[in-house]
């Protein structure tokens, strides 16, 4: 281990010497091009110069949750994967801080009139970290591999808007017949089953990322764990990977805009106390997703930062189990909730929300407005009305209610939320609710099977469109755990998919949400959350990704 590191240093030193020599020669030649700092120098000096550049630039160490799953965009991606994707992979397009689309691996794109054919023109100066060019085949590679059912891709259903993909996944058609075309190295064409107004938002999913055709194949098991084979086309690439211990990214020398950090190290840590302590001792520079008590400990200090997440926490009522088969009972339980009462318990990094789409969601049709502005308050706390509704349903003052069990996964602040709800339902409705904490995976299993009477639910948007939330409760959707079916809701959702006018579409989605939340009362939205960050105050210039989390490629170190 030691020897290896020394070797790296020696090579870096050698590379540095080479780079200086190259620079000196260039100066002698008087060519006058001052762009020798980034891509040009890297192309001339090769890997060693790149290592030198990375070694010269600061290393930043992050405390990360333990890794889980693969680093293959076609595979079982999990928590750390998204950090890897943000740093090491570049999709066709990217979100900016406001949630708008920015060209990334694609320079430009266009759709046909009805939104069924989408053509992307890749930039010709897109490079993998080994210097080879990024081509349309690399994008097709990920898609085809994800459609192999044995691969176990977590985001394969994000591909099903493309012609032939669902059949290929179910092995009733060939994967070679799917609606993705590569007319040349720099053109990628998608043929969709039906118009899709939010197709661009899908492009953020792992299954739309490129994976290098040279190494990434489903036969070559483990390529994603091996830094020699796992190439990046983003600002960084995987330079070292110690499973369970750490992962290291260094600069992709061929990337067009070189970030300020030379090396990023993620240390996999499991213990909150360990992470806070390591931040205090300076052994890590950044601790994301910190517990809420950090807000008090670091109040007023420059280390503290927050990044809002596109997540909604809500109560899901099982409409197939008494007493929640009665819409009046569902409404009564929804109106009895005091959201502020919950926030008072769980901390100020949460904000109350009464809509299914997070209140902070940036509107696509009304720039500058949020979903909260458009939807307004959908559920207003109203004890008198709640009591009346419960009495109308035949349970005056909570008398005669069947046994009630609220289930939540035993993690984070869920117990605090559950106990607060229990107390509120008791006070307002006179209902005695039993709490049932379950291990996370058991809870998911039971919820999926429709066994839970009413339960905590949480949904983090996979991409920046209301459909990532609202699609869940369409008839027959795999995530529709309570088998709710409303034909009006379904038809609005279907129509909204092909509505290419953002303003009209937003109206439709607001209406669908209204049916779900205030008409049929399937869910009771509670609150949104932010990630709490501890960041070394010397690191500045980072910004919040619209879906949550920090983007580091534009960050700098100030002394």
């Amino acid at each position: 281990m030691k020897i290896k590191r020394d070797n790296v240093k020696r090579w870096a030193a050698l590379g540095l010497a080479l780079a200086t020599a190259v620079a000196a020669l260039a100066a002698c030649g008087g060519s006058g091009t001052k762009t020798a700092d980034t891509t040009a120098a890297a192309a001339a000096g090769g890997e060693t110069t790149a290592a030198a550049a990375a070694a010269e630039k600061p290393t930043v160490i992050f405390a990360s949750q333990p890794e889980n799953g693969e680093y293959d965009p076609s595979g079982a991606t999990a928590y750390v994967y998204f950090d890897y994707q943000t740093n090491c992979l570049e999709g066709l397009i990217d979100y900016n801080e406001q949630g708008g689309y920015e060209p990334a691996a694609a320079e430009s794109w266009e759709a046909n009139d009805d939104g069924t054919v989408w053509t992307f023109h890749l930039r010709e100066d897109g490079y993998w970290s080994d210097g080879s060019k990024v081509t349309s085949a690399d994008f097709l590679n990920t898609i085809k591999r994800a459609l192999d059912p044995a691969k176990g891709s977590w985001y394969v259903d994000g591909l099903f808007v493309i012609k032939g993909t669902e059949d290929a996944f179910n092995e009733t058609a060939s994967v070679d017949d799917i609606g993705v075309e590569c007319p040349d190295d720099y053109t990628l064409v998608f043929h969709l089953n039906a118009p899709c107004a939010y197709f661009l938002d899908y492009l953020r999913l792992p299954t739309y990322m490129p994976s290098n055709v040279k190494y990434a194949s489903n036969e070559n098991v483990g390529w994603d764990q091996d830094p020699a084979q796992n190439l990046g086309n983003g600002p960084y690439h995987m330079a070292a990977h110690e499973p369970g211990e750490s992962i290291t990214y260094t600069l992709n020398p061929y990337y067009r805009k070189q970030p300020a950090f030379g090396t990023i190290v993620l240390k996999f840590m499991a213990d909150e106390q360990a992470m806070v302590s390591a931040y205090k001792t300076g052994e890590v520079d950044v601790y994301g997703n910190a517990p809420y008590y950090i807000l008090e400990q670091y109040a007023g200090k420059p280390d503290l930062d927050e990044s809002p997440v596109m997540v909604t926490n809500y109560v899901l009522f099982n409409i197939n189990q008494a007493p929640f088969d009665d819409v009046r009972v569902r409404e009564a339980f929804s109106l009895a909730v005091s959201r502020q009462g919950i926030i008072d318990v769980i901390g100020s990094n949460h904000t109350t929300d009464t809509s299914f789409i997070p209140a902070t969601f940036p509107s696509k049709a009304n720039t500058g407005k949020t979903w909260g502005d458009l939807a307004g308050i959908l559920l207003e706390e109203n004890a008198a009305k709640a009591q009346q509704l419960l009495a109308d349903a035949g349970y005056p003052g909570g008398a005669g209610l069947p046994e009630l069990t609220y289930t939540y996964p035993s993690m984070g602040n869920e117990a605090d939320v559950a106990q607060t709800l229990q107390q509120q339902w008791k006070e307002v409705l006179g209902a005695d609710v039993k709490l049932n904490a379950m291990e996370y995976e058991v809870y998911v299993d039971e919820r999926r099977a429709g066994k839970l009477q009413f339960a905590r639910m949480q949904w983090t948007g996979d991409f920046l469109d209301p459909a990532t939330w609202l699609d869940m409760y369409r008839t027959g959707n795999a995530q529709n755990d309570v088998d709710w079916s409303n034909s009006e809701y379904d038809s609005i959702m279907t129509a909204s998919m092909s509505e290419m006018d953002p303003a009209k579409r937003e109206e439709m989605l607001l209406e669908a949400e209204r049916i779900l939340v205030t008409e049929d009362h399937i869910i009771c939205p509670l609150f949104n959350s932010s990630y709490i960050y501890l960041i070394n105050p010397k690191l500045t210039g980072h910004w919040n990704h619209p879906l949550g989390g920090k983007i580091w490629k534009d960050a700098v170190v100030v002394q």
Binding site: G69, E70, G152, V156, P243, A270, T281, E441, V444, D445
Partner: protein
């Protein structure tokens, strides 16, 4: 002697088989599927279960598993699909072993020295001081010790680093935290048996012969006084080498204790079973070795074997 060793090994193997069987059926009885997660849909879940053979009858799965173990194949992790269980054990056992050995050395050296010092202490006050220190050592749980050491010597005083095991300095705090209990236990054992042996006639005789007190201590007293310590060290070595989840979590050591608990909460059946078998085997080997060492030190026991 050979018969004894063979007999112990045979019983050990049988124990392993029972252990494997119980673990296998207990993991199967756990609610929740290892493949269940937020984004995996029904159809995909079925395909995955088919791939891992989870849709077959439990007895058939058990038979397949036993056959695979005999050929040294512990299967692959459900949660880290490109990692085999054997690789994971090899990978995580390294840090645990290194920390375990350091703790072991610390335990023997500090424990025995403290035990002798206590036994030889003349004043009752000093003895009482030692005793209260050691009682604290065996009664304070290691997560408190680990946390106190981390906060005082890591965060406040900054004497030692607290993240990982990359330099010798990194070993100090976790080894002390892990060794706190065994050091105290060894010291107590050494003290008691040292005092017993000191009262024996052969020690008085050796002293009367004019043998140097140091030689008496090493050859006549310690050799006999350490017998209970060796017996105690058998399971302790096993305990240290299987890793402590508390310490590995707090000091971010990518060891086996941490991985094991992580695998349980993740429903990573194959990893749970593979590690249980590995740890079971380790405990059996350590206990047998301790017994054999005892026999080497004590001629009386050698005869009875």
């Amino acid at each position: 002697m050979l018969r004894y060793v063979l007999k112990r090994l045979g019983v050990g193997l049988l124990t392993l088989l029972v252990l494997t069987t119980i673990t296998f059926f207990m993991t199967k009885a756990m609610p929740g599927s290892p493949l269940q997660s937020k984004n995996v849909t029904g159809a995909l879940l079925e395909k995955m279960e088919e791939k891992y053979g989870l849709n077959k009858p439990v007895i058939q799965q058990y038979a397949t598993y036993l056959v695979n173990i005999l050929s040294g194949d512990l299967g692959i992790s459900y949660k880290k699909p490109s990692t085999t269980v054997s690789d994971l054990i090899r990978k995580t056992f390294g840090p645990t072993l290194r920390l375990g050995l350091v703790t072991l050395a610390l335990t023997l050296v500090l424990g025995v020295i403290a035990g002798i010092a206590m036994a030889r202490a003349k004043s009752n006050f000093v003895k009482g001081l030692w005793l209260s220190g050691l009682t604290l050592g065996v009664s304070v749980p290691n997560f408190i010790v680990a946390l106190l050491l981390l906060v005082i010597f890591g965060v406040q005083l900054r004497f030692f680093p607290i993240l990982g095991l990359s330099t010798p300095m990194h070993y100090v705090l976790p080894a002390l935290a892990q060794g706190f209990y065994p050091i105290s236990a060894v010291a107590r054992l050494t003290q008691t048996s040292y005092e017993d042996v000191m009262k024996q006639d052969y020690v008085t005789f050796a002293k009367a012969k004019g043998i140097h007190p140091f030689t008496v201590m090493i050859r006549h007293v310690l050799r006999n006084a350490l017998l209970p310590v060796i017996t105690y060290m058998g399971p302790t070595v096993a305990f240290l080498l299987t890793g402590s989840v508390v310490i590995e979590n707090l000091y971010t050591i990518p060891g086996m204790g941490r991985e094991f608990v992580y695998a349980i909460s993740n429903h990573d059946y194959t990893v749970v079973m593979g590690m249980t078998i590995f740890m079971g085997a380790l405990i059996i080997v350590c206990t047998i070795t301790a017994d054999l060492l005892c026999a080497l030190v004590d001629p009386r026991m050698r005869k009875t074997l």
